[in-house]
């Protein structure tokens, strides 16, 4: 195979001293799916942004089709045939699919008139050419995230790109949507497109890619053929040490019931029942995992527990007290909460790290305030930030930096640090490791296990079965708003849980 892109000796330094890419050379062949893997902050995204013209390299050169290129903005890269689908989807939600696809590349009549008919027709043709199963007239705000991602890909194909860069495309998808995306990407490859695929998820990488390049701390570890790679081997290349995949629980007997939901029902404003008689108990020193295909009531349950929506009936008890309709501060004395949506619910991304770290603490812990809670003590706050940074191994420049400047893994560590240091007896975790790299996942898991050893009660919702089996003492399965099973992890297996998730009932042996 011939190399379509050759990046050689790329250096990138973010002042003052962060070396994001340190002498990275990598070549991509025409018509391959090439995965770029590495921990958060390994330099994967930076490398792709340099290729795509979003950031300049400090040194090094890029050959594209044998010619030296240097794109000064994404527009030039697209012109040359290289397109990138970003992690967060960048479409105009108020526009239809075809309007989004043609934006910036519109067919016109008389110089200014938008030729809507022709544009729609062209988009329809592209949809059929790649059998994408999209309605060109649907509004983007009305379609699923998976479909939006397809629109992003289509938008690039409409501009005739031959190289597609996908930045963690599966992180926004539900497990059922992933195979379809992979099918489409493989079809594109077979059409001669080259696909560069940034991912954390080793299973996906092994399934999808032809070759894999591993980066670690800004350096290239190596490029290997996917057929020769194993999950453990890749993980070791990524983190530079062995990663444990087995259950890591130690034997321990659970204590009294710390948390329970009693007959929880919730019907949404469209009169659809979302939770049906949900009863879950969590004991001290116990991790209860919640399995289920996404959209089967897990999110509603979390929102009801945290008081974001009011249950139609039923109650929630934590540490022996009914907290169903208690004000949030009262709940927070008993419940630590790590939401799945870091950017919107877990933190204020525009505030700085220290401000995020002391949230809730500043109301519950007297040492952060004086004058009866009116004046914040920033000295205390910043020493507390330091504590979190040390205890939870957060990579950050200073507490003054804005929260969104942190990488995903470090954001999660900050949130986790804040919540676990609340010393609430019960901990609610919603997808605690989604979007994190292997090293961070391992770290988070260890923290969760430590909390269990401290006899806290933990309820963990996760879409990752491996995670559930690794950590939970018991697994409850949710299906269509109901708890359909409550199983001891040691007495069940992935097949059984998977079947329950899909069918809502145990298979008859």
């Amino acid at each position: 195979m011939t190399d379509i892109i050759e990046m050689s000796r790329i250096f990138k330094i973010f002042p003052p001293s962060l070396v994001a890419l340190d002498d990275v050379s990598v070549a991509f062949s025409k018509g391959e799916i090439h995965a770029i893997v590495g921990e958060n902050g390994a330099g994967k995204s930076t490398l792709m942004k340099i290729l795509y013209g979003m950031q300049p390299a400090d040194s090094g050169e890029i050959l594209y089709n044998g010619k030296k290129v240097k794109f000064s903005d994404p527009g030039e890269a697209i012109q040359a045939g290289i397109g990138m689908v970003h992690q967060e989807i960048m479409l105009v939600p108020q526009y239809t699919v075809w309007e989004n696809v043609v934006l910036g590349y519109e067919p016109v009549k008389f110089g200014i008139h938008l030729d809507a008919k022709k544009a729609r027709e062209l988009v329809k043709q592209k949809i059929e050419e790649f059998s994408f199963n999209l309605n060109p007239d649907a509004k983007v705000e009305d379609i699923s995230v998976a479909a939006r991602q397809k629109v992003e890909i289509l938008k690039l194909l409409f501009r005739n790109v031959s190289v597609l860069i996908m930045d963690e495309p599966t992180s926004v998808l539900t497990p059922q949507e992933i195979p379809q995306l992979f099918g489409e990407l493989k079809r594109l490859r077979d059409n001669g497109h080259t696909i560069l695929f940034i991912s954390h998820h080793l299973e996906e990488v092994l399934e999808l890619s032809d070759r894999i390049t591993v980066l670690r701390k800004g350096k290239k570890v190596g490029t290997i053929e996917a057929v020769e790679a194993t999950k453990a081997g890749l993980a070791q290349m990524m983190v530079g040490r062995e990663v444990i995949f087995e259950s890591i629980r130690k034997d321990q007997s659970a204590g009294e019931v710390l948390f329970e939901t009693i007959g929880l029902n919730y019907t949404d404003p469209d009169k659809r029942p979302r939770l049906k008689d949900v009863n879950i108990q969590v004991r001290a020193g116990e991790i209860v995992g919640v399995a289920g295909v996404e959209g089967n009531g897990q999110l509603e349950m979390v929102n009801v527990i945290m008081g974001l929506i009011e249950p139609s009936s039923g109650s929630i008890k934590a540490v022996g007290e009914d907290i169903t309709r208690k004000p949030i501060l009262e709940k927070r004395k008993r419940v630590a909460f790590v939401p799945q949506d870091r950017g919107n619910m877990g933190a204020s991304v525009a505030a700085n790290i220290t401000e995020n770290v002391i949230m809730t603490h500043h109301r519950l812990d007297k040492r952060f305030t004086s004058w009866a809670g009116r004046i914040l003590d920033f000295k205390q706050a910043s020493s507390f930030t330091d504590e979190v940074r040390k205890k939870f191994d957060v990579q950050m420049s200073s507490g003054e930096a804005v929260f969104k400047s942190l990488s995903g893994g470090n954001q999660q560590k900050v949130i986790l640090g804040r919540e676990l240091l609340l010393e609430a007896p019960f901990i609610l975790l919603d997808q605690p490791t989604r979007g994190l790299d292997v090293g961070s996942i391992e770290y988070v898991h260890q923290q969760i296990i430590d909390m269990r050893a401290q006899m806290r009660g933990i309820l963990m919702i996760s879409a990752d079965l491996e995670e559930l089996f690794r950590l939970s003492d018991r697994i409850v399965v949710m299906h269509k708003g109901k708890v359909v099973a409550n199983l001891a992890t040691d007495n069940t297996n992935v097949t059984e849980v998977g079947y329950l998730m899909l069918e809502g009932a145990a298979y008859e042996a």
């Binding site: 994404p74 012109q79 960048m90 939600p93 910036g104 590349y105 519109e106 938008l114 938008k155």
Partner: protein, 297 residues
């Protein structure tokens, strides 16, 4: 009959500058700019329009100068809000104050008068008689014989509507407002679209200004825009930028303005001239109550 045609003509006259400025505001609204500088652009347009007409003894030069004067203000807005990325609201406030100051200063320096300047050498923008139609009773008195700028405003409504919804520029303009990163990553600079929307806003506000000093009356007085730019802003926000909606709202404001004049027969003028502003407040109140209801559902 005379009262009604008078009232309607009064309504059209009062609505015209608001309509033009609001159409300019509509373009910047769709581009996602919080533009409150229509007031300043309009005032600058009125002054320079008068200046051009006075020096060249020609109303077309007046219109040209009005447009250039307003664009000058738009360029200052672009420099601060788009290039230097200053806060749009602060820039707008500053520009509006600057416009009052600079036109007053120039009026006093150039013409050595305070308050207002009128001269027979200022050539007004003519009224247009439409043959045939002008002879129709009542209707003719309304449709024909209006100031040239009134017809331009009508045309501008159609053109802006077409521009926003049917052209390539319009698709990009709205995209800049809805999601500018999307537009940027599509290879079109959102800032460029914003700059163009502001320049077009300047053109429309310039026309509005020329109507104030060369159409409505033939003089320039200090601060003669008298809050019309703010009312046009209210109109834009009220209908979320929709040009047709803006035309209707402007007529409504024009009507209340005419009504105010009409009521002067029985009420002190200080009260009657409040009518359009009160109407603005009421409209904003109704709008926000409606919006709140919508959000609840």
């Amino acid at each position: 009959m005379n009262i009604i045609t008078g009232l309607i003509n009064g309504m059209i006259t009062s609505a015209t500058p608001i309509l033009l400025a609001a159409l300019g505001g509509s373009l910047t609204y769709y581009a996602g700019i919080f533009n409150i500088a229509m007031e300043g652009m309009m005032l600058s347009g009125a002054f320079f329009g008068m200046l051009g007409s006075y020096y060249f003894h020609s109303w077309p030069m007046g219109i040209l100068f009005a447009i250039l004067g307003a664009i000058l203000m738009a360029l200052i807005f672009i420099l601060f809000a788009v290039v230097l990325k200053m806060d749009e609201f602060i820039t707008g406030i500053g520009l509006n104050l600057f416009s009052v100051g600079v036109t007053t200063y120039m009026l006093r320096q150039i013409f050595k008068v305070k308050g207002a300047f009128a001269s027979p050498e200022i050539v007004p923008i003519p009224k247009i008689d439409i043959p045939w139609i002008k002879d129709i009773p009542v209707v003719g008195e309304i449709i024909s014989g209006q100031n040239l700028i009134v017809y331009i405003a009508l045309l501008a409504t159609i053109v802006v509507s077409y521009l926003v919804f049917k052209t390539r520029f319009g698709l990009r303009l709205r995209a800049a407002g809805y999601n500018r990163t999307s537009l940027d990553t599509s290879g079109v600079s959102a800032n460029r679209i914003r700059v163009w929307s502001l320049i077009l806003c300047g053109v429309l506000c310039g026309l509005a200004g020329s109507f104030l000093s060369l159409g409505y009356v033939t003089l320039f007085s200090e601060g003669m825009s008298a809050g019309r730019g703010w009312i046009s802003l209210a109109a834009v926000i009220l209908v979320s930028g929709n040009p047709t909606g803006i035309a209707l709202i402007s007529l409504l404001f024009g009507f209340t303005d005419g009504l105010g004049l009409f009521m002067q027969r029985s009420l002190p003028s200080q009260f009657t001239s409040m009518v359009p502003y009160v109407a603005t407040l009421v409209a904003l109140f109704v709008y926000s109550v409606r919006l709140k209801k919508k959000q609840k559902i």
